[in-house]
């Protein structure tokens, strides 16, 4: 009965028939049944997710930004000349004064150094995604492992990781990041790593541990233990996959905080990266263009609005996902 072991709480598909002794066939059949289960729960989840209008809106915004990120290399390869449109080293020779207002050639104008704002915006979108997703993956990888391990073993291991999480929650993270980025040349990847580690050992670990505790007492864990599953196997094959929906939710929130942290640090001029939305605002601010109000709107508004929209889109997507994966919230009548 290999195939019924992993998802003990879900009834095995009756049409799958009794297990055979053929060596390859059982494994294939198991894979097939698992795929169908995953697909079915995905379809159900997607239906609930899309039912909430907020989730749909968030998804549309995220897809829109993804398209923006992908369009930059395409545009650079085809219509945009690298001398003029490069987000860092380009210079708009055609404009008589910098920053130039929006025109047909530069739809969002140019910045005080003569670089095309739209090109900067699109270029930065890609790196924001890379940053957010790297940080989120690191967070989730750490938090699910820590949560599952401390729920499974309890005792000293649990106490250690939970106290550590308490400590990390109490740390003023932006202030620490300011010190870190001030003293080191922090690149985007290391920033993502730091944010991911802080998030992974912090609050997310506590939430995932409490979820893992409720999974640990379900019958299929006992079944796995009875059939001789080792500790490693029980943790990583039986507990962790059941934590993944909830950890997906916390990925969303991590993306929001990572993008926000990057923007703040770049705004303060502390990061060693070439271009980002925060740096765009930093450039405008140090040039003194921000207090001129609406006159140079294209220097601030596109970048500021992008940060707000992408952050809130991931946050709202997380909220909509909450309705799907959080059993306490689903189908609440108010």
């Amino acid at each position: 009965m290999r195939w019924s072991r992993s998802k003990g709480s879900l009834l095995p598909d009756a049409s799958a028939g009794p297990p055979r002794v053929e060596p390859g066939g059982g494994r294939l059949r198991l894979l097939h049944a698992r795929t169908r289960l995953v697909l079915r729960s995905f379809r159900n989840g997607a239906a609930v997710f899309l039912e909430s209008r907020i989730g749909l809106l968030a998804l549309v915004i995220i897809v829109l930004f993804a398209v923006m990120a992908l369009s930059h290399p395409v545009l650079m390869g085809t219509v945009w000349d690298a001398d003029i449109y490069d987000p860092v080293t380009g210079y708009a020779f055609d404009a008589t004064e910098q920053p130039a207002p929006p025109s047909w050639k530069h739809p969002l104008g140019t910045d005080p150094l003569g670089r095309d704002v739209l090109s900067q915006l699109l270029f930065s979108t890609g790196s924001e995604f890379v940053l957010g997703i790297t940080a989120a993956l690191v967070t989730v990888a750490i938090a699910t492992t820590v949560g599952a391990v401390s729920a499974y073993y309890g005792g000293l291991v649990d106490a250690f990781f939970m106290r550590l999480a308490d400590l990390i929650i109490a740390l003023p993270s932006i202030s620490l990041l300011i010190v870190l980025s001030g003293l080191f040349d922090l690149s985007l990847f290391y920033l993502a790593l730091v944010i991911g580690v802080l998030g992974g050992f912090g609050g997310t670990a506590i939430v995932l541990k409490s979820q893992a505790l409720s999974i640990k007492v379900r019958p299929f864990i006992d079944a796995a233990r009875m059939t001789g599953g080792g500790q490693f196997r029980i943790i990583f094959v039986h507990i962790v996959p059941n934590l993944l929906p909830l950890s997906l939710l916390y990925m969303m929130f991590t993306v929001t905080s990572a993008i926000f942290a990057e923007a703040v640090l770049s705004f303060l001029g502390l990061l060693d990266i070439r271009m980002s939305w925060g740096i765009m605002i930093h450039t405008a601010n140090t040039g003194g263009y921000l207090l001129s109000g609406t006159r140079y709107w294209w220097l601030v508004l596109p970048a500021g609005a992008s940060i707000t929209f992408l952050c809130s889109a991931f946050y709202l997507a997380g909220r909509a996902l909450d309705e799907v994966v959080n059993p306490r919230l689903s189908r609440r009548d108010g």
């Binding site: 929650i169 109490a170 993270s173 202030s175 080191f184 500021g304 946050y315």
Partner: protein, 383 residues
């Protein structure tokens, strides 16, 4: 109670120790050596350099330097700041800490109160236009990019309308002829605020205990009278205009921090209220025929408050970090701006001192909220 406090304080000390260790490791690991920074800095006279070397043990092995660092921190000896040269770090920080605390405490208090009131109201009447307006604007402000939003506030209220000063702590034109320092005026203001708060809590405690029917109602005039006396004292003291100047500079940062952070409390209160209004005791209160507002405020909201206070722990750290950002945008010379300036100029002693103070502040805030929570919830018996 004592055991609980003791445990929390020891946990706090452990965290502080962790912060200290992390900052020490960071400073040691950064490119450029702490020791050579002193040795090669031409601005430092030789005798000062010698003194620094003795204070930080720069010619000793790293683990010994670590121990010295710990001892120095415990005794409050952070060394001398490079940026504010002859002044010791502790002196600089002691001047700036109250400013940050005031900014942060008043913003947290205001945003918590506003968020709680709004959340209560929108949960009570669901589907109203207030709910949509508050939710959408709250979320938008919550996710707005803080520096850009702060700059927008400056542009609107200080630059365009000219109602409030652009930034900084005080207006030099007002203070030119003053013979008192801004720090002493500010400490006096703090004292006044503390006195008023003590008076207010005393009055509210007394009015709650009073058995007389009109006992509660007499509290408001009493509070007004107290405020009037304090205001009069400031007016007669001759430095009232200076205090007013500082207050005027405070409005915009506090308002900005409040607008950014009230939505969190509001949405949480709303969720918690929605759960509470379905409880039996709310229905019982309604069945007794109590007025609507009384059921909402006395029966539902009181019980909905608990999870919101828990979340305050998380929002406090957010607020401290937020005040770092807001301080840097408004040039408010508090701890956050000091940290930022020190990091930019590689003023390492000041960096270490500032991060320790910020860590201490957030831990202290945690402790206060924890104790507050234990006091509010009778089910928690200081385990």
């Amino acid at each position: 109670m004592a055991g609980y406090l003791l445990r929390r304080v020891s946990q706090m000390i452990l965290t502080l120790f962790l912060i200290l260790t992390v900052t020490f490791v960071l400073v040691q690991a950064q490119p450029g050596d702490y020791a050579s920074f002193y040795a090669l800095n031409p601005d430092l006279p030789p005798d000062v350099r010698e003194q620094m070397r003795a204070t930080f043990g720069l010619d000793r092995p790293v683990w010994e330097q670590y121990l010295i660092h710990m001892r120095n921190t415990v005794t409050g000896n952070f060394g001398v700041s490079f940026g504010h040269f002859p002044r010791p770090v502790l002196d600089v920080l002691a001047e700036r800490l109250p400013r940050t605390i005031v900014l942060f405490v008043s913003a947290t208090a205001v945003s918590f109160y506003v968020g709680f009131l709004l959340g209560k109201a929108i949960a009570w009447r669901r589907g109203g236009i207030l709910e949509y307006a508050a939710t959408i604007s709250g979320t938008a402000l919550f996710t707005a990019f803080t520096p850009a939003f702060a700059l927008m506030m400056i542009w609107i209220f200080a630059f365009r309308l000219g109602w409030l000063p652009v930034g900084k702590f005080l207006d030099p034109l007002v203070w030119r002829d003053a013979d008192v320092s801004s720090t002493s005026v500010f400490s006096l203001m703090l004292l006044t605020a503390a006195a008023f708060l003590a008076f207010a809590s005393l009055v509210s405690f007394a009015s709650r205990r009073s058995q007389r029917i009109g006992g509660r109602r007499s509290a408001v005039p009493l509070l007004l009278a107290g405020a009037l006396v304090l205001a009069l004292a400031w007016y007669l003291s001759g430095i009232g205009n200076l205090a007013l100047d500082i207050l005027r500079h405070m409005i915009l940062p506090v308002a900005t921090l409040t607008l950014i952070s009230f939505a969190g409390t509001m949405l949480l209160t709303r969720n918690s209220m929605l759960e509470t209004v379905r409880e039996d005791f709310v229905m019982a209160a309604r069945a007794k025929g109590l007025p609507d507002a009384q059921v909402r405020d006395r029966h539902a909201a009181r019980n909905a408050l608990l999870p919101v206070v828990t979340s305050l722990i998380y929002s406090l750290v957010f607020a401290i970090d937020g005040s770092v950002i807001v301080e840097s945008v408004f040039s408010w010379p508090g701890i956050g701006l000091t940290l930022l300036e020190a990091v930019r100029t590689e003023d390492l002693p000041l960096v270490m001192g500032a991060i320790v103070f910020i860590g201490f502040l957030s831990l202290l805030a945690h402790l206060v909220v924890d104790v507050l929570y234990a006091c509010l919830d009778p089910r928690i018996r200081y385990r």
